[in-house]
Amino acid sequence: MTRLGSAAAIGLQAIGRIAQLVAVILVIATFNFVLVRAAPGDPAQVMAGQSGASDPKLLDDLRREYGLDKPYLVQLVSHLGRVVRLDLGYSYRQRRPVVDLILERLPATLLLTVTAFCLALVIGTALGALAGLAAGSVLDTVFTVLSLVLYATPVFWLGLMLVLVFSVTLGWLPPFGYETINVQLSPIEHALDIMKHMIMPVTSLAAIYLAIYARLMRSSIIEVAQQDFIKTARAKGLSGSRIVVGHMLRNALVPVVTVAGMQAGALVGGAVVIETVFAWPGLGRLTFEALLQRDYPVLLGIFLILSIVVIALNLLTDLVYRLIDPRMTTGAA
């Protein structure tokens, strides 16, 4: 095949892939619409219900304003039209563009979830590797019990206990919120203030992820240690550290990356429970509140963005596989 032909083939392949992605996104958008609308309830009724007073005019006005008076199919087509134009629409409840609401909440969510995720991934993997390498020792038993306890601890309970100890009893940390309200701070003081607010929510959220990665890494290391190639490496006389770093860790990381890749998509969605306990103004709470209010545009907007992020992260996970295990490259043995 000529170079030109090869470039054209790659181009066609790329166009095909993009068309495939657009089709997947449209299917997801349709599915989300049907799913969200299948739940019983009507946003106008919810709004009226919370006002403690209602009459036909209020319901008619709200339904007309929300476009709910139009036939179901017209609403679906109009929704898909907006998706194609990358327009997420207006929130029924907050009467603001959905994209503004999401962008407002996204930084707080990412700060919380990505920090917790990275901490959990690094510490959990390291602890799991140590426990796996020392399988059967006291250290292994301690790590295993600790990760089991962390895994079994309800996240809201851990959060509340941290608040009780570090805020109510000791008074060291702010009990909730993202930042101190109503004070003038320099940029550095402001960053430190946010970090102080992050300690407890990040710890609570990281605890459960940490336990998952530690347990996964431990069992993966134990399994890899029994593989023939490790025995061969030892027989070749390689040093212990070289065997661990160069052979065991890389191979043991594959299942951890798989699980981390699957969980990473959820990071953008936020952590509903932690955001609720710590009054953290993130996307998880926005989603939950939108669900309760049947604020369809907000729900559909968040679902769409999450779907896109999950698709992107799946592609990224594939790439990472190839980096840590070249055998996974297409065409390799």
């Binding site: 609401l101 702010p174 009990p175 909730f176 926005l286």
Partner: protein, 525 residues
């Protein structure tokens, strides 16, 4: 009291020096009040949204012409005095001079007429009903407003607090799409506090309105409303002093007890007299066996309401005797009483032919648990146990707010629990649950159980347009007797929500609208 005496009393009340207007010794300027707003309101303009959190927060930003005391008598709000004509058809309000909106423009009688007759009738269901009774509203001078009614409506004087008729700026809203007006985000009112910042999901920051018309008020510099969605976290925030005031259901009833004992905190159940939250077990009167009066009477007997108050509401409630709360006007305690008696309940059920089957069960009824928090779930459990005593299997069905609203509004339920505000007068907050003309499918808080009695309709109608107080009492006493006999719903409790606040703050509860008040006279000692 005859009409003339009634008018005099109204005038006297209007002329009195209103509570909190003059500065008494010890009232100091400054300080921040941190409190809670939950759930977060969708908008702060109370004319556009009447959810309880919107009203609590918006009550600091928007004002009405009047306030109501714990005795439900009108007190000056933005109107310094008022007069009702002897025929009960003309209401004349005199406004305080020097009232300004937060954007600096003066508030005049034109704004009142616009708010009541144009904006509120479009956006506020309660106001729509109240002002539909007005034949004309005029602003003869900037400080005078005159409402002329089509026919007498005695409770009309009870329709002017900040929750029922908030005044908005005509220059901002006239000729616009009210709900989509971009100025809604600025929440421009006349109240003692104005919006400085609203970080959604986090907090709403109000600061002093320096141009406020009452001398020296407000005393506080700022109020910060924090959005804290989790009930346990809200309780911790009060416990460690991060917030200094909680109201309504900010803290769960099981937490209230421990705060009563916390030395730095003041506890009161005052400040809810105007709303008088009244709770009942709602039964769909269209479906058997709830369509039989004897069944509904049996329900009244089989619920131990004293125990219900103690175990579910930890004593923060009073047993309801009928459709009218003891805090509301024209309450009559001399109605038939249904004491807790399983035997009487069983006898009534037997009498109607609902006897136990071979398995000992009389019936199975689905009960939708309202999704309004822990107390409602506990209440469902309590009812289930109560009904089990007479062989009725109450099946608890969970749902979320949207599901509950749809099921109840569309009459697609058997039993549920409900709670409504009484709004000071049976014509405003009680009649709507029982009159036939308010049986409207799809509409929550109407006569959703489908009770219909032409005599009750007639009595409610007549009482609403009667001016003589004694005559009104007579009519309402009669309607209470009929309703208590018919039991359209099984009244359970008058809920006494708490207001708990740091003792450093004074004047927190000064009227019957409690935490919806402007807080202009609240100060930190």
């Amino acid at each position: 009291m005859n009409r003339r005496e009634f008018t005099k009393a109204m005038l006297a009340c209007g002329a009195a020096i209103p509570f909190g207007i003059t500065r008494a010794a010890g009232q100091t300027r400054g300080g921040t009040l941190n409190t809670i707003i939950q759930p977060e309101p969708p908008v702060l303009v109370t004319a556009l949204n009447q959810q309880q959190p919107t009203l609590t927060l918006g009550g600091k930003i928007y004002e009405g012409l009047l306030k109501y005391g714990a005795d439900l008598k009108p007190m000056p709000g933005m109107a310094q005095s008022w007069e009702i004509s002897p025929d009960g058809l003309t209401y004349t309000f005199k406004l305080f001079p020097g009232i300004t909106f937060h954007d600096g423009k003066p508030m005049t009688s034109e704004d009142v007429v616009f708010s009541c007759m144009k904006l509120l009738v479009e956006t506020h269901p309660r106001a729509r009903q109240n002002f539909a009774r007005v034949a004309s509203a005029e602003a003869p001078d900037p400080l005078t407003v005159v409402f002329k009614l089509k026919q007498p409506f005695a409770p009309f004087i009870g329709c002017f607090d900040c929750t029922s008729a908030p005044i908005v700026p005509k220059h901002v809203y006239d000729g616009t799409d009210y709900r989509k007006n971009p100025e809604n985000d600025k929440a421009i009112g006349t109240g003692p506090f104005k919006l400085k910042e609203w970080v959604r999901g986090s907090h709403v920051h109000l600061v002093r309105h320096d141009g406020y018309y009452l001398k020296d008020q407000p005393y506080l510099d700022e109020i910060v409303y924090r959005v804290i969605p989790d009930a346990a976290s809200r309780a911790l925030a009060l416990e460690n002093g991060t917030v200094q005031l909680v109201q309504w259901s900010d803290v769960e009833f099981y937490d209230v007890q421990r705060f009563k004992a916390q030395k730095n905190l003041e506890f009161t159940t005052k400040g809810y007299e105007y709303f008088a939250p009244h709770q009942w077990l709602e039964m769909n009167n269209r479906i058997a066996p709830m369509n039989d009066k004897r069944f509904r009477q049996a329900v009244m007997h089989l619920i131990d309401r004293e125990a219900f108050s103690k175990r579910v509401y930890f004593g923060n409630a009073k047993v309801a005797t009928g459709p009218v709360s003891s805090k509301t006007k024209f309450y009559d305690p001399n109605v038939k009483r249904y004491e807790f008696s399983v035997d009487k309940a069983k006898a009534l059920l037997d009498d109607m032919g609902l006897k136990p089957g071979a398995n000992g069960k009389r019936a199975e009824i689905k009960y939708i648990v309202p999704p309004y928090g822990e107390s409602y779930q506990r209440a469902g459990e309590f009812f289930r146990q109560s009904f089990a005593r007479v062989g009725i299997d109450l099946v608890l069905v969970g749902t979320d707010m949207a599901g509950w609203a749809e099921k109840v509004g569309n009459w697609d339920y058997e039993m549920t629990q409900n709670l409504l505000y009484q709004l000071g007068d049976p014509a405003l907050g009680v009649a709507r649950t029982y009159i036939s003309s308010n049986i409207k499918k799809g509409i929550l808080f109407s006569n959703t159980q489908g009770y219909s009695n032409p005599e009750v309709d007639k009595l409610f109608d007549e009482a609403a347009i009667t001016l003589d107080e004694a005559k009104r009492q007579e009519l309402y006493s009669k309607v209470q007797q009929i309703l208590v006999e018919d039991v359209p719903v099984a009244w359970t409790l008058e809920i006494e929500y708490p207001i708990i606040y740091d003792k450093a703050f004074k004047n927190v509860v000064t009227t019957g609208i409690g935490s919806h008040e402007t807080f202009g006279s609240v100060y930190k000692s």
